[in-house]
């Protein structure tokens, strides 16, 4: 026979004003298994908890029900208290007679509240009788971290984790780290040069003793769970031996072939053996295997001939590396929306219609024009430039519903950069609204308009066409209520920021969520902004949504601090609410495997003494299982059950109503 104690809390008069707590206690004392009941003023108070502890120990209780406030409030408190009295904490259950009874039934005759409290407490009591002793799951933590994405957010996260004394693996799919920020000319609102602040960070990441870079590499596969991940990384063949290459540049100087530079967004050409930009980290080139004639048809081979350290290796193949880590930071960044969707603006057709990142390159002193603003078609310095904002943003029919957030600011910056370089040039900006929330941001846009002479027109552009060597921008000026046509030498489109291409397939590999725009989902958008639903995987930067540099950096640091916290203990305690398989009855239908949202269930071989596989059964990984119970409802043979919410417990509660 169980020895259960029921403690009914009056909660001052929060409960007792509408519930006859003495009556509830009295009714409970009549039920089998209940050896004592208490009707107490404040169970959660210090004396209340002491009384609980003493009573449990003195009467050798093997289970208790506290009929009080919501378990979300004090379940932890009471479980901790009984644990100190030597009882398994999972032998303590809470009947919610405050939030879900006394506070919502205002009948002061106490009839309703008392009757309902008796039911609720009885249901929990019956459930408690079936509770098993559970032990917190303890899992070891591998204190190495993986950061995916070498943009500013990822670099920041990597450096912070490494500075905290933990080893970090930084994976970047491009040949160099740096991401989008490395492309920028100057940054708002301070107008400091992006590369001047970015390249030291890149070098710091490269030289850090605790950071290992995997550039030109991608995550292929992820196994394991929080504290114990196993990551499969594909190191794409560079055709250059990284250990031998000195980055002297002889190879790319001599390479006779060219292709459009991805880093310069097609504004200039690069060689077929190349580093994306002169400040690349690492400063080791890659061979463009899609185009290089040596790779394709064994012709040329000039780079090999000129390479003195003999680093060129045409036989190199992709390498698969497996790394063990305990936590992951995902910082894969953004892409710009494909402007081809905006045919009326002439992008791709009219050479002098470019996007924001291309303008950044034009304005950058390390860019294709050395920082001179020259239009791409003929190198002429534009006398006027029209900037069009919200190209794809806030436009559900042609683009995306959301605001890309940084365009108002960078467009204002562009107008200033243009003005600083071409003093008599005129900038026009078509905008919908100017959104400049942020420290010193509003002052910045006002400066562009009021002091730097940019002409802001509120309205949409309907089309851009060519006439007598000029770009004609036709649009509406809604403030004056008129149609305008502006003659420009160049048009810059502030295209929407979209999720990184392939963001969804990476999310599926990692088991993290994403929204309809394929931006990654936070655990909680406000209170857990860097966590994901998968334990041990954190987010940073604009893979979550459009974000500027300060936000990306903050988020990188925030993710790093989460990783540090995770790494602060050798073992990780987890709630023991996980699924359990009764192997004898599993008929290997694998419905649970399909149902599990966490890929926590795998197929396990049962072998006989000779080591032959005789049957297969489901197997739950405690590290991955979060205890949702979806597998249990899917199981036809009732083989799988959820500790803490077993079928037996639920039926006991149902039966008791």
């Amino acid at each position: 026979m169980p020895r259960i104690g029921v403690f009914v809390c009056q909660c001052g008069n929060n409960i007792s004003s509408t519930v006859d707590t003495a009556k509830v206690a009295e009714e409970m004392s009549k039920l089998p298994g209940v050896v004592l009941t208490e009707d107490y003023k404040f169970m959660c108070s210090s004396p209340g908890q002491d009384m609980l502890k003493e009573t449990v120990a003195k009467n050798k209780l093997d289970g208790i029900v506290v009929a009080a406030c919501s378990p979300h409030m004090h379940e932890k408190t009471f479980r901790k208290a009984v644990e100190k009295a030597g009882l398994n904490p999972y032998k303590c259950e809470i009947a919610n007679i405050r939030e879900q009874c006394s506070w919502v039934h205002h009948d002061t005759t106490k009839k309703i509240g008392t009757a309902k409290s008796i039911d609720l407490t009885r249901m929990v009591l019956e459930r408690l009788k079936r509770n098993k002793n559970l032990t917190k799951i303890s899992i070891p933590v591998n204190k190495r971290a993986l950061v995916i994405g070498g943009g500013i957010a990822g670099i920041q996260a990597a450096i912070d984790i490494a500075d905290g004394g933990r080893d970090v693996i930084l994976v970047e799919k491009e040949p160099s780290i740096g991401g989008n920020m490395a492309k920028l000319s100057e940054t708002f609102p301070t107008m400091d040069c992006s590369q001047c602040i970015m390249t030291p960070k890149m070098v710091e990441a490269e030289l850090h003793d605790r950071i290992q870079l995997y550039t030109y590499s991608e995550v292929e596969k992820l196994d394991g769970y929080i504290g114990n991940f196993s990551v499969t990384i594909r190191k794409k063949a560079r055709f250059v031996n990284e250990d031998l290459c000195t980055g002297c540049g002889d190879c790319w100087n001599k390479c006779p072939f060219k292709a459009d530079s991805e880093f310069e967004h097609g504004l200039t050409k690069r060689k077929l053996i190349y580093t994306p930009f002169p400040q690349s980290v690492p400063n080791i080139p890659v061979i463009d295997k899609e185009r290089c004639p040596k790779i394709l048809k064994d012709k040329c081979g000039l780079c090999e001939k000129v390479c003195q350290p003999e680093a060129i290796d045409y036989t190199q193949e992709d390498e698969i590396v497996v790394e063990e880590v305990g936590a992951i930071v995902v910082a894969t960044g953004y892409n710009l929306m494909d402007e081809a969707r905006f045919a009326p603006y002439g992008y791709g057709k009219l050479k002098d219609v470019i996007n924001g990142l291309q303008f950044e390159r034009l304005a950058s002193s390390s860019g294709p024009t050395g920082g001179e603003i020259q239009r791409p078609s003929d190198g002429k310095v534009p006398e006027s430039i029209v900037f069009i904002q919200c190209v794809g943003s806030r436009d559900e029919s042609k683009g995306v519903s959301y605001c890309s957030k940084i365009c108002c600011m960078y467009t204002a910056k562009h107008t200033m950069l243009y003005k600083h370089k071409v003093h008599d040039g005129q900038a026009y900006v078509f905008y919908m609204d100017i959104r400049s929330g942020g420290k010193r941001y509003e002052e910045f846009t006002r400066r562009a308009i009021e002091q730097e002479g940019a002409m802001y027109l509120r309205g949409r552009v309907s089309r851009v066409y060519e006439k007598n060597g000029k770009l004609m921008v036709q649009g509406a000026d809604t403030l004056s209520g008129s149609q305008v046509v502006i003659e420009a030498d160049m048009v810059v489109l502030a295209t929407a920021l979209v999720s990184r291409q392939g963001a969804d397939s990476l999310a599926q590999k990692l088991g993290i969520g994403y929204d309809k725009h394929k931006f990654y989902s936070e655990y909680h958008p406000k209170l857990k902004p860097v966590e994901t639903i998968t334990g041990g995987i954190f987010l940073a930067g604009s893979c979550v949504g459009p974000m500027d540099i300060p936000e990306s950096v903050s988020m990188g640091s925030a993710a790093a601090s989460k990783v540090q916290a995770l790494f602060s203990a050798d073992m990780l305690d987890r709630e023991p609410i996980t699924s359990k398989v009764r192997e004898e009855t599993c008929n290997a239908c694998w419905d649970c495997v399909t149902a599990c949202p966490y890929v926590a269930i795998s197929k396990k071989e049962i072998k006989n003494r000779k080591g032959e596989v005789i049957r297969m059964v489901a197997n739950v990984n405690d590290g991955l299982c979060t205890g949702c119970g979806t597998c249990i409802a899917a199981c036809r043979s009732k083989t799988i059950d959820l500790a803490g919410y077993t079928d037996e417990q639920v039926y006991a509660a149902l039966n008791a109503f």
Binding site: R98, V104, I533, C628
Partner: protein
């Protein structure tokens, strides 16, 4: 009559008096993260609703075995309501989608075994939707009250089946 119902009746007669009018008994199967917290919020906000509902907390609506619902009716519930996180908001990512799929399949079975679907309600209530919870409980109680007691299973028992 089930033991539970007898027990409950003893209590209610004792507490509410012998002549208390019939009130439906509603079992609510709710998830821990959204609806349970929503119901808590109704309390914290001191809202008021019909007292006929008894909540059973589960981690997720995905945990709900359809047999729980049949069991609830067998044990004397006159109505059952199921509520979890909104689609896309599931604490466990996809548990509520599983619940929804099962619910659709389960619907026709319920009708087949003779349970009026008006006695069964499925809803999404988030942790912030206390008002929705209050309305749901009141509506379901009202609806089930109109239908009267669910006696079919007891009748079967009486016939010795």
């Amino acid at each position: 009559m089930s033991n539970a119902k007898v027990k409950a009746e003893i209590v209610s007669k004792e507490v509410e008096g012998k002549d208390a009018p019939w009130e439906p008994r509603i079992t609510a199967l709710v998830c821990n993260w959204c609806t349970y917290a929503g119901a808590d919020l109704a309390g914290t906000s001191r809202m008021e609703y019909r007292p006929n509902v008894r909540i059973i907390k589960l981690p997720c609506t995905g945990r709900i075995d359809p047999l729980f619902i049949i069991k609830a009716f067998e044990k004397g519930a006159d109505g059952v309501l199921v509520s979890g996180c909104h689609p896309g908001d599931c604490h466990y990512n996809a548990g509520n989608y599983h619940a929804r799929r099962r619910w659709i399949g389960f619907n026709s079975l319920m009708e087949f075994i003779g349970i009026d679907m008006k006695r069964l309600h499925f809803s999404w209530i988030s942790a912030s939707e206390a008002i929705k919870w209050v309305d749901l409980v009141n509506d379901v109680t009202e609806e089930v009250k109109k239908l009267g007691p669910f006696g079919e299973y007891q009748d079967i028992n009486k016939d010795g089946l």
